[in-house]
Symmetry: C2
Subunit: 194 residues, 2 copies
Amino acid sequence: MDGLQSSPRRAQINQVAEQLFSRKGYHATTMREIARALAIEGGSLYSHIASKQVLLFELVLACAEEFRRTAQAVIAEGGSARDQLRRFMRQHVAVIAASIDRAAVYFHEWRHLDTGQQAVIRQQRDEYDEFLRAILRSGIASGEFAAMDEKLVSLQILSQLNWSYQWYRPEGPLNSEDLAEAFFEIVMRGLEPR
Amino acid sequence: MDGLQSSPRRAQINQVAEQLFSRKGYHATTMREIARALAIEGGSLYSHIASKQVLLFELVLACAEEFRRTAQAVIAEGGSARDQLRRFMRQHVAVIAASIDRAAVYFHEWRHLDTGQQAVIRQQRDEYDEFLRAILRSGIASGEFAAMDEKLVSLQILSQLNWSYQWYRPEGPLNSEDLAEAFFEIVMRGLEPR
DNA sequence: CGAACATCCTAACGGGCGTTAGTTAGCAAG
DNA sequence: CTTGCTAACTAACGCCCGTTAGGATGTTCG
């Protein structure tokens, strides 16, 4: 929740909004509900936020930046393509696991942003995707991964990582590192040259 | 769209609702919008449907039944576990590809159903998941697949299949059979015993 | 102490929604 | 021609929403 925590009350608003947006959807969540969860009145929220829409945008943006930050760190740290892929997947699952609600808002509620805001998010997503593709390409070039359609494989990997917010629960029996590792194993077996 | 097409107008309503629910979300779609897309008035929709909620429920249910029907056919047809898995994945992608909008509503908008309706859908989903798990188990038993946590692997497979509605476009360069085949190849390589 | 500021309350604005009930118009059948 | 039915229109109900502007309250600082 970096960069969003300008005050304790603002942090609370973000937290509650994230939960409610995730569970009920952006449009089905009212400002009065968010306020009620904080034991204040709906009109009071506007002391802290510009609008409902801006609130959503900032939540989505914060998550996008978290994904980017972690991917950048993976790339910056270098290592073999296999290692980078493992770390990339680990980080990805970790971001989701840190807050399932945030992930849900990021993956789905962003669609309710206006056109300009959506374009910003789309660009961030594309940049993030490009990190993975770069890893796959370098693995192919180094011979660590079999030749493949790296665009499609990156979509496949991201698909399984992204959808996990729908069923994975960090408080369950499986910790996020083991989950990522399990995913990585199968993916890696599929990618290894033969 | 089986079982839902009681009249031409009803079919149109379903089609438009599906599109709008998919693109804007259930709550952000108004009955007046659905009506407007059909060049009638909002109040007129109630000659054909009981309520907005029931409309959503029936759309989601129709898709759930389509998934189930195709999975049942795969199992009924038998064959090796490998073949069944391939066909299962093919059918899954085919159902999504048949209507991305329907898939989006099924995978996400179902959350806006009431508690009782959700329970119905959840049960259908669980039954569907069980089809895949049964295939994986039989593959393990027959030695076609390596031993594994079949629950987790089924979630992994379903994750990549399910998320595809977010990026796959049937009118694009890749047809749904080739997509399913590409997914199957990597999955299978990961599942094969070593 | 008084002023400034932050935060909250509150009433209300302007607008909108899902749905209902009564009416109307067109069509088909007797 | 008359009657019955279907499907649409329409006005309105009952309720709700995001947001604003003015006021009230508590805290901090000079």
